[in-house]
């Protein structure tokens, strides 16, 4: 574990130094993704403000939930940027380079491909959470902060797992960029509104197969003292960490299978 952390910190140090070499790019990258998140939220805010809410959820509560998902996305963009852009690494043959080193891919990629622009969604997400909490304050309880930490970590693992599943197809097909973009766009558009706004089928899908509803929607019920208004009743409100572990088990399995099948760019 110590070696792993030391390796990540060394990579991170190199990545940050490299990014700071080009300060305009550094600021542009962070601002770009920050404004992406804010404008994405603005689209939802305009609609929700116009219609006064969605299925009993107020504007502030919806912004709060969306902010949480943007923080999670920011971590994925910065720490796991290499997985998001995996197609590129396969196409350019960089994967082969990683595979000959004496560490696993998931050990090397996070630090080696660290992208500072992920700070943009994190900052935007924190701002949206603060804004949402200001206009619709959550219940102040002693477990609010630890529960938020659990929710954010679970959401990161869920999104990472789904990204790994889509990205791992690049081992077989080389080209998966459009699908990765679609995954990201579908995720943020679905997370922009409460899951209860969707039909039973879509709710089931984003609870079981693509568990986006666990990233913020279900756990936010507890923060706002709401009874479950989704399809699956109250038990799911507590299950974000379990959903994250299950998603990671599947994601990691698919990823490992992809690595085993991968024959290198020269052999494809």
């Amino acid at each position: 574990m110590g070696t792993y952390l030391a390796l990540q910190m060394a990579y991170l140090h190199i990545g940050l130094k490299s990014a700071l070499q080009y300060r305009v790019n550094f600021v542009g990258g962070v601002l770009g993704l920050l404004t992406h998140s804010l404008f994405a939220a603005l689209g939802g805010i305009v609609l929700i403000d116009r219609f006064g809410g969605v299925e009993g959820w107020e504007l502030g509560q919806i912004v709060f939930m969306f902010g949480l998902t943007r923080i999670q996305t920011g971590v994925i963009y910065s720490v796991f940027r290499g997985i998001v852009g995996w197609e590129f690494y396969v196409q350019e043959g960089f994967v082969d380079r990683y595979l000959v080193r004496p560490r696993g891919l998931l050990t090397q990629v996070p630090g080696a491909e660290f992208d500072v622009s992920g700070f943009g969604p994190m900052i935007a997400g924190a701002g949206l959470v603060a804004f949402g909490a200001a206009i619709s304050p959550p219940n102040l309880t002693w477990w609010l902060v630890p529960w938020l930490a659990v929710v954010i970590s679970s959401g990161i693992v869920i999104q990472l797992s789904l990204t790994m599943i889509v990205a791992s197809f690049a081992f077989y097909n080389v080209q998966m960029g459009a699908a990765t973009n679609s995954l990201e766009r579908t995720a943020w558009q679905m997370n922009l509104f409460p899951a209860s706004a969707y039909s039973a089928g879509v709710q089931a899908l984003i609870t079981v197969a693509l568990p986006w509803a666990f990233m913020a929607f279900y756990p936010a019920h507890l923060l706002y003292g709401r009874d479950s208004d989704g399809l699956f009743g109250s038990p799911v409100l507590y299950l974000s960490p379990v959903a994250a572990m299950a998603a990671f088990a599947v994601g990691y399995g698919v990823w490992r299978r992809g690595i085993r099948k991968y024959q290198g760019m020269g052999g494809m």
Partner: protein, 271 residues
């Protein structure tokens, strides 16, 4: 002057075909895109129904038309999303751009072929299946009139041209700042809102919608979609098409001008 090459139709069509094939060959990519597209279409359809049920605002557009608008907005956005900025930016950074500008075709036209090839492939292989599935299971409506049906295609093409022109202008910043991925990422956040693909301009508050209509972005999605569902009709259709064509010409000409300046900058870097 290596950048001032001929822009004849044959190489343009060849590049378009090449990139269309390149997109179509990635079948898992396409199938995943269709799956996410259908999910998004379902989500948007039920979302609009939920919003209409709230009845805070008297709906100016019937729900079936709004659902149609939302699904079309989603698939048009998917079709127009290409990796052209990231790809060309990478080539500018690495210097591989030199191989592109040495080709016997104008670089702007060559990239347009790349863009159109990808967009056409995504439209045929992803957007149409998503629309077909939506037509069976959701409240998706055909064009509002015969004129709307006939004009929708040309309006989409003009919208794609405006979209490319804006993407090209963003890309040109790479000659100066080396890395423009952040700007393109920001645009991906702006795009659904500014183009009217996510929220139609008539739902925007007060003067915001009117102000946004003066920008080129609504020409990308809002104009063709509002023609399709019959919100733009009669003589307004021709005004809307003229405005789209006007934006395409102005933005392409601006792109051509700054591309020439960018090439000079590139020569300095190389020298």
């Amino acid at each position: 002057m290596i950048h001032n090459r001929t822009s004849s139709l044959a190489p343009f069509l060849a590049i378009t075909q090449l990139h269309a094939r390149r997109t179509l060959v990635a079948r898992v990519d396409i199938l995943s895109n269709i799956a996410f597209g259908v999910l998004l279409a379902y989500g948007l359809a039920f979302l609009w129904q939920a919003l209409y049920r709230a009845e805070f605002v008297p709906p100016t557009v019937p729900i079936d038309r709004m659902v149609t608008y939302a699904i079309l907005g989603s698939v048009v956005t998917t079709s127009l999303q290409t990796g052209i900025v990231y790809y060309a930016n990478w080539r500018i950074r690495t210097g591989d751009i030199i191989f592109d500008i040495l080709r016997p075709i104008n670089w702007q036209v060559s990239l347009l072929g790349d863009f159109f090839g990808t967009v056409i492939a995504q439209f045929v292989a992803v957007a149409l299946p998503v629309v077909a599935i939506s037509a069976v299971f959701l409240d998706f409506r055909p064009p509002a009139s015969t004129v709307a049906a006939l004009v929708f295609g040309p309006s989409l093409i003009l919208g794609a041209l405006v979209s490319y022109s804006i993407v090209f202008l963003i890309l040109l910043l790479a000659f100066r700042y080396t890395q423009v991925g952040g700007i393109e990422s920001a645009m991906r956040g702006f795009r659904p809102l500014l183009t009217g693909a996510l929220v139609p301009l008539w739902f925007l508050p007060g003067g915001v919608g009117t102000a946004m209509e003066q920008l080129p972005f609504p020409a990308i999605a809002f104009t063709p979609l509002s023609i399709y569902i019959g919100e733009t009709e009669g003589a307004d259709i021709w005004v809307a098409l003229a405005r789209q064509a006007g934006w395409a010409v102005v933005l392409l000409a601006t792109g051509a001008y700054f591309a020439r300046r960018g090439m000079h900058k590139l020569s300095i870097q190389g020298g």
